[in-house]
Amino acid sequence: MKTCKALCLGAAAAMVALSASGAFAEDLVRLISNHKGDWSTVMPLLGEQQGYFKAENIKLDITWSAGGSDAQQAIITGAGDIVIQTGTLGVLSAYEKGAPIRIIGAAMTGSGGLFWYVPKDSPIKSFKEADGKTMGFSRPGSSTDLVSSALAKHFGVNPKRLPTGTPTATLTQVMSGQIDIGWSSAPVLLDKISSGEIRVIVQGDDAPDVREQTIRVDAVNANWLKAHRDVATRFMRAMWKSYEYTYSEQGMKDYSKMFDIKMDVVKAIPKYATLEAQAFWPIKGLDQTMKEAVQTKRLKKPLTQKQLDDLIQVVYKPKLK
């Protein structure tokens, strides 16, 4: 009995020692990604296939959300570790309320991926003719809401902006004539652009203000970050490799095969979502973002610099080639 106990204790101690030393398997990272904006959000998937995460001793467990608060809430409650491509506004709002969330990098600066289009036989030839026409965005307070408003201001037009939901829902409203100008986010609907069915009349980045704003970030649970900062760094390193890979010829081929999208459509994507726009650093336009957050009731007042320093902890700054 006594020897048995001693043996068991010894074995347990050995296990603890071994696991502490990291001799065991990789670190598990529970990643939350979005359905929307397929291109950016599936890059970790492609990178995982190439073994980048394994090389950093990370095992990825990816869950897909329909976007929005669900993804963020999963991180805050510790059900997930990292969320990528989540809205900056949401993260600021959660942080102000004391949620344990931190930003570890920018995910999308500028809105090159966003575009507004009309059907091919629409009388509207350019965005300057958008006065009084109906223009879609996803939902109130979203980035598409803010960007469409910024575009209207910049071009000096006054369209009637309406929430139209997802790109899919928006497309059918445009094609059935309920809405004049629809929105989408690359690569969704790029195939229809190349086939000529729809015409792009304005892109998100056509407004200079928008270009300099980080609208989406990668965020983590604060407690997880404190305990696993090096895992976060390794994760972002592998992520960046995944990004670079996806933008390469071979990566695009993988993507084309995985999602059954024609290569010429895939090749058009970098025009909308450049690699530079997705650099993890710098995070731009926070003052503007905070102003909008207060406007849309997501923040009571702008965060102080001290709060920002606490919130933003970029763990890895990639070098752009």
């Binding site: 929005g68 608060s69 963020q72 809430q73 805050i76 409650t77 949401g90 709002s93 959660a94 309320k97 949620a99 939902r139 109130p140 307070g141 929430p163 139209t164 939901g165 899919t168 829902a169 059918t172 409203q173 059935s176 309920q178 849309t296 009731k297 997501r298």
Partner: protein, 254 residues
């Protein structure tokens, strides 16, 4: 005897409300002490504050009226189409036998999942809500109308015949009044089911109303506000349900 039951009834009410109060108190303690994260369950005091803010800033009453209005429109349309269809299924027995099973299966089917299809067909708006609400409401009404007519006692029909009533008079003076209680059961079922469907769709598709309000608050990451709005949804469904019960009781007695 009667006072005994009444006392039991009020006693149950007191115990019920009392335990609710205790639960709320416990929740307050648990969240304040940090045992439960306030991002999972905000403290009841926070929810209360959020409730007050809600009424000050978000017009929840208007949202509730919108929700109920949409529900009633869908039901009205369902009654207008469903009762005649139910009559047709009774009148033409083959049709009734052919479709009853289908309607029963459709009744239990996950109709809510058709929303993406209607969304792309009809766009994001009142149309989709109306059609999906109508679809939910019409089935019980059709089934119960037929059931009600089928269960009209034959003696009543014979009486009508003996007075040489025309088909039309039969319908309005004998058949419908006799079938009315069952038909109203169907209407009551649809009234409840449709409110549920409308709120669910408003929530899922961000289409305004009380359901949309819950979604907006959650999207804004206002967790206490989200809970406050959910409480309002619960209150609405209690009130709505009670009113429907009262109406049915009143109709039964008249």
């Amino acid at each position: 005897m009667r006072t005994g039951i009444m006392r039991a009834g009020t006693r149950a009410l007191i115990v019920g409300l009392g335990s609710l109060a205790v639960l709320i108190g416990l929740a307050q303690v648990a969240v304040s002490a940090g045992w439960i994260s306030r991002f999972i369950l905000p403290a009841p005091t926070e929810i209360w504050t959020a409730m007050l803010e809600l009424f000050a800033e978000e017009h929840p009453l208007q949202a509730a009226i919108a929700t109920v209005g949409r529900t009633l429109s869908a039901i009205g349309l369902a009654i207008a189409i469903g009762v005649p269809c139910g009559w047709a299924l009774w009148r033409y027995r083959t049709a009734g036998r052919a479709y009853e099973g289908w309607l029963g299966a459709l009744f239990a089917s996950p109709k809510l999942l058709l929303y993406p299809l209607f969304l792309v067909m009809m766009g994001r708006g009142f149309g989709t809500l109306l059609v999906m609400g109508w679809l939910t409401a019409v089935i019980p009404i059709v089934l119960k109308t037929r059931e009600g007519l089928v269960s009209v006692p034959p003696v009543l029909i014979r009486v009508g015949r003996s007075f040489n009533l025309t088909d039309r008079q039969m319908l309005w003076k004998i058949l419908l009044p006799s079938a009315a209680p069952v038909i109203f059961t169907g209407i009551r079922l649809s009234v409840i089911y449709t409110l549920i469907a409308i709120i669910a769709l408003e929530f899922l598709l961000n289409l305004g109303g009380l359901g949309g309000l819950v979604d907006n608050l959650y999207d804004r990451y206002d967790i206490p506000g989200t809970y406050a709005a959910i409480v309002l949804v619960l209150i609405l469904s209690i009130v709505y349900f009670r009113i429907v019960e009262r109406i049915q009781a009143w109709l039964r007695s008249s």
